[in-house]
Symmetry: C2
Subunit: 436 residues, 2 copies
């Protein structure tokens, strides 16, 4: 924590991510002995004044190479899984260090009463960090729940709708389709746009949508993990219709204007923590109107009234989420995260687009996801050979979802740029060897 | 794991827990240099043949003192929390060691795809260990779910009942009362016995129960965490009425004849792991009849058909549960666990009963819980002074539940005997100083 606090004080690391390449390399060289960002950080904490210029020196010019080496020295693979997904190495190390005895409490976080002062501080800090990251207005409740986004497919209509209400769904992939199907149980759920006929490679244009007048809410999936389509702008349903978004797979990957939404929900296991935690951000004035058949654990008001402690929450998972939130804040918040994600995604999409069709991404360019990059090759055999080579090179979980096949590289917040560069290098080398 | 496997091979440690004191101390002394059970175990793994007699030597005569010292040297407190609760130190250390890079996979378990071979082996091993511990018949499904027992309060009637069915509830404390109230939403829930008028200090005698003919199920809470009453024998509802039990707070604390039950459920955070995992053991022939309004995530058949992988499960929590199950097996299974629990509980109840009313346990002797021991003192001031002294001595979370006050010592599987002995020693000393 001392290191982390010091980093916050120097406030240098976050800013660096916003610098252009030119700015980064414009300062006089010094401290060339630092071999990686991590060791640099450790040293910064010891001598912050001395090293203020370090982060912009040529010694870090090839930062990715260092990241790469650091990963490999540490026995880490580059994990492109769609979720549960890679987490920041520094967060994992802190969680490891604190697992047996959390900050001198004599207990693991897994053993602590959820009503004790230790865990109270953990969940409150996690909420405060998330509020800070997303600039969540005070009239929104933040809930730490269980059950994944799939549970929210039921909770949303149960809490927001009367059974006779209509709710509109944009079906842009497998997840929004599941949300729609579950919604049918609890209201008149209507599909107002579907990407199915185009194999979920596109999203609706603003003018294309014909919403139901008086619909209670419009539901979207902000990023379809399986198909790799992501909303860049969000539809405005207008009138009293509420906008609801499943942001599971792009949550905290970029800034979001929360005030445009009535409700945002997200499973943690993509960008912010381990599986078993689900975040719900909901306008407080919407609470207290759940249907009578709502299980108590799916009633948002119960959880809001009890600060997510109505029953025992998934304490260890919430703790890890809190560490990730702190880490994101230290790295410059969501604007900086977005810039890193744009940079990484560009590397990968550029490689695909420059391959003369050797690699193909089926998704329309305007709606390509920054998080999940699906692509295909000419034959399943080629894809299998590619996956094998990737795994041999320490790049794992690149197989596309079993429902669509192909390759999928999930490059969430915590995927280092070096991982994407290594993947791109393999793609180029593979193409050279296999292109006919 | 090498150590653990070696322990299994020698099969000595489990048996020791079943030895009488005489048997334990009857062997010729040797290996006096071992200062704790843990270091002994480590050494055993290196030289199992040499040390076969060690576990019965006088060097371990005062094992509790060693446990105590070991705890204190390690910075651990004795944590009497009702849940989340203390876990085996060895399990925590293993989880810590493996957190950053699970067994050479290059990933944390928190980062692994739940459909990858690594996690598949983890969840399958956890289920196999639990089946072995509880001797679960093959015609029962074992589900690893989310949401705590409170979610099951809804899931049970939603899966087992039609809306017009009657379900009987024995209300023996706060938890079964909550289960009953939630049940009212989904069937005709009836209280067939209530301990409320006696402040939940008793349980029904077999003859006392007047069940509803044709009731779909009879629901019991096997152990009431707040009030400290525990079923020693289970009622047999007879006819086609199913027996359903919430075993959250005594799950895996003793053997249970699973075949007597249609369904058993338990939150993990008492005896078997961190919060965020809920185990359901359900007869397979009962699946597939859920009410239409059942959220997909509350439908047992969905989870059974998908081996608990319909959506992303709480992977890290399931992993820790698996470690606890292995640990229990290595220590002789549930019969041995029960013996240890009886021994610990006897120490505490004997101290209360021998205090001439200075400490009082309100619960009827025949139904006193082996897991949660509530007791009171003459005044709240005395209780506060006692709690303060206990905390100063490294014994924490002894305050009774906010709804009932007093003291409560939760002494689950992982509470070392030394912790109970230390508590009893404080009770005696405190009484000597404060008895009028």
């Amino acid at each position: 924590m001392a290191v982390r606090n010091m980093q916050l004080q120097t406030a240098l690391l976050p800013q660096r991510d916003l610098l252009t390449a030119d700015q980064r390399f414009s300062t006089a060289p010094s401290c060339r002995f630092f071999t990686s960002k991590t060791s640099l950080r450790r040293s910064l904490s010891a001598a912050p004044r001395l090293c203020r210029a370090v982060l912009s020196t040529p010694s870090l010019k090839d930062e990715s190479k260092h990241q790469n080496k650091e990963y490999e020295d540490d026995g880490r693979v580059f994990n492109f899984a769609a979720g549960p997904a890679t987490l920041p190495a520094s967060v994992l190390k802190q969680a490891q260090e604190e697992l047996y005895n959390w900050r001198g409490s004599g207990m693991s976080i897994m053993e602590m009463s959820h009503r004790g002062k230790e865990f109270t501080s953990i969940i409150q800090n996690a909420e405060a960090s998330l509020r800070s990251l997303l600039k969540i207005p005070d009239d929104y409740a933040v809930l730490f729940l269980q059950g994944g986004a799939t549970t929210q497919f039921a909770s949303v209509p149960l809490n927001l709708c009367k059974p006779e209400d209509t709710a509109d769904y944009i079906v842009s992939g497998s997840w929004s389709d599941k949300a729609f199907k579950e919604g049918q149980k609890y209201c008149t759920a209507k599909v107002v746009w579907s990407g199915k006929s185009n194999k979920y490679t596109d999203l609706p244009q603003p003018g294309e949508l014909s919403l139901t007048p008086g619909a209670r809410f419009l539901h979207i999936c902000a990023n379809e993990t399986i198909h790799g389509v992501e909303f860049k702008d969000y539809p405005s349903p207008g009138g009293d219709t509420l906008l609801v978004a499943d942001m599971s797979s792009n949550f905290c990957s970029k800034p979001v204007d929360v005030s445009k939404f009535a409700l945002i929900y997200a499973g943690a296991q993509k960008n912010i923590g381990p599986s078993g935690v689900t975040i719900v951000i909901v306008r407080k004035d919407l609470l207290g109107n759940s249907q009578k058949i709502t299980p108590v654990m799916l009633d948002y008001k119960i959880h809001a009234d009890n600060n997510s402690l109505y029953n025992t929450p998934p304490c260890f998972g919430i703790y890890v989420c809190g560490l990730v939130f702190s880490d994101l804040l230290e790295k410059g918040g969501l604007r900086a995260a977005e810039q890193r994600n744009i940079e990484k995604a560009k590397l990968l999409y550029d490689a695909i687009d420059a391959s003369n069709g050797f690699f193909k991404c089926p998704v329309k360019k305007e709606v390509r996801s920054l998080m999940n990059v699906p692509f295909t090759m000419e034959t399943p055999d080629l894809e299998a050979a590619f996956l094998k080579e990737a795994a041999a090179g320490g790049m794992v979980q690149l197989k596309g979802h079993r429902s669509v096949g192909g390759i999928r590289a999930s490059i969430y917040n915590a995927m280092p740029k070096a991982g994407v560069e290594k993947l791109v290098a393999l793609m180029k080398s593979f193409q050279e060897r296999h292109a006919s």
